[in-house]
Amino acid sequence: MPIVVKRPRLTLAEKCYFPALMKGLRITMGHAIRILRRKKKVTMQYPEVKWDDNLPDYYRGAPALVTDEHDRERCVSCQLCEFICPPRAIKIVPEEIPPGDEWQKVEKRPEVFEIDMIRCIYCGMCEEVCPEQAIFLRKDYAITGVSREEMVHDKEKLYEIGGKREGLVNKWNELK
């Protein structure tokens, strides 16, 4: 069923468009004056003023690897994150933990762990899929570099960003 929309009957003042024009000009001028008199401040001057302190806890920034309270790297090289990663930004080469190592029972650790930050879409799938809670999305968002190589975060850089994270999974600790 087609619906016939009745157009409103316009008065003469509305038809000649002029009062509406003046009203519009007054509104825009009001905004301009409010901004000029600094009554209202909307824009944050970014590099000088940052919003970092107000970032929410669920903010998804750069992914990073973390160590546990014994300085053991949490990643066990299961490669789940590598498989789940939608843009395939993660590259892992697993390595066996040599005998005699304190954490030999963990068996595997990453020899190479690289995240290509040009590819990363900050989706957080890696964090979600990780069974060891070894990878987290931190609050770093200004990832810059002057070459493609620079934009690839290697293991060292990932641990530097991630730091130590205590608690959570206690699977490999003596306590258990």
């Binding site: 024009l21 519009g24 000009l25 825009t28 905004h31 000029l36 909307v42």
Partner: protein
């Protein structure tokens, strides 16, 4: 021998003075004004939309920002350095011709605008033509060819639609643009823009007849009654200038929301910049024309010109400081109008296509025609 050399000097000065005026006006006044009106457009629109706008580019390699006044220079460098890409499917000759055809008429029209009274005995107008407004109409309507040619030669659908819209937009406002000016010319009985401004300087601006013979207390009843047709002419003329310069609410040839970028979709780099500059140059000239015809051009209000002249002593020679005051008055008025253009741009939504045609053909055309008769009637009744 002496005679010959002095003649040669006279001829040389006759050549040099207009050349200096052209170079100074175009390269030192109009083009920087174009560049800075782009900056003003961005800043004013930002302010209206509760933003900041470009406020950082200042002196290179320093932290001095100057409220972003360096922005137009960096914009210009960007335009010069970008790749000038010509798509393979275009008609090369017209594709290259079109940007020039938009820019050149816009700059040409400034030849007859009086931008000041006199400076060192020289009239501050490049060509003191006796047919000023006619010249401007003749040249300014050429700029539509640039847009139509750009739309057609681009050989793709959005520019083509933009070009078509531009041509049919032109025929719907150009008539009312011309007719709305007839009452003004009737009131002054004059087609020379310099003389029109001098008349307004002495006897009150067309929209502010409050001194000289134009004021009621000095018997200027004709100017009092003529104020109303002049105001109607002003509204029609200003609206038509909006359409002529393709500014919102009449920017149908460009029409970003419907036609990508309209007629200049296929253009890049300096060719695009020429369209851009042409639009803003047309805006400046249009504002200059409105100011000249309705708001007294370079003259100061309330007959201060005459007072300052008598203060200077010699009634024939305009002193240099007054000449500079006049030039700055003109530029200030033009800048005010440019800001008004920008202000309107961010206030009104774009007219629908048929609405523009209706406005041009049904409202403004008749109103302008009627206005001529009203003006003529008032002139017959009030001027003995």
């Amino acid at each position: 021998m002496m005679m010959n050399s002095s003649l040669a000097i006279i001829e040389l000065s006759a050549l040099l003075v207009p050349a200096i005026k052209i170079v100074v006006l175009v390269f030192a006044v109009i083009l920087p004004m174009v560049a800075y009106s782009v900056w003003a457009e961005r800043r004013v629109s930002a302010i209206i939309q509760d933003r900041v706008g470009p406020n950082r580019v200042g002196i290179p390699f320093t932290k001095i920002g100057l409220a972003g006044l360096g922005q137009p220079i960096s914009d210009g460098i960007k335009f010069l350095l970008k790749e000038d890409f010509t798509p393979g499917h275009v008609n090369k000759l017209y594709f290259w011709l079109a940007p020039a055809l938009t820019m050149v008429p816009a700059i040409l029209t400034c030849a007859v605008l009086p931008f000041g009274s006199e400076l060192f005995g020289e009239k501050m107008v490049v060509a003191d033509l006796n047919v000023g407004p006619l010249f401007i109409f003749a040249i300014a309507s050429l700029s539509v060819y640039g847009i139509v040619l750009a739309g057609w030669s681009s050989n793709s659908k959005y520019p083509f639609l933009g070009g078509i819209r531009s041509s049919s937009q032109m025929i719907s406002y150009e008539i009312s643009l011309g007719l709305s000016l007839v009452p003004v010319l009737l009131i002054f009985g004059e087609l020379n823009l310099s003389t029109i401004v001098e008349e307004q300087s002495k006897n009150g601006w067309l929209l502010l007849p409050l001194w000289g013979d134009g004021a009621i207390w000095n018997g200027g009843w004709d100017r009092f009654f003529l104020f109303f047709p002049a105001a109607i002419a002003f509204i029609i003329f200003t609206t038509s200038i909006f359409a002529e310069t393709n500014r919102l609410p009449f920017d149908l040839p460009e029409c970003e929301t419907e036609l990508v970028a309209g007629y200049h979709t296929e253009y890049s780099s300096m060719k695009f910049a020429l369209f851009f500059l042409g639009e803003y140059a047309a805006m400046i000239i249009g504002s200059g024309l409105i100011v000249t015809l309705f708001l007294g051009g370079w003259s100061l209000p309330f007959g201060w010109d005459g007072a300052l002249m008598s203060m200077a002593g010699n009634p024939e020679q305009v002193p240099w400081w007054l000449g500079i005051i006049h030039i700055s008055t003109f530029l200030a008025k033009v800048v005010g109008f440019i800001i008004f253009f920008i202000w309107v741009r961010w206030t009104l939504p774009r007219f629908r296509y048929d609405q523009l045609m209706k406005l041009g053909w049904v409202v403004f055309f008749e109103l302008a025609l009627l206005n001529i008769f009203i003006t003529a009637g008032i002139i017959i009744l009030t001027r003995p």
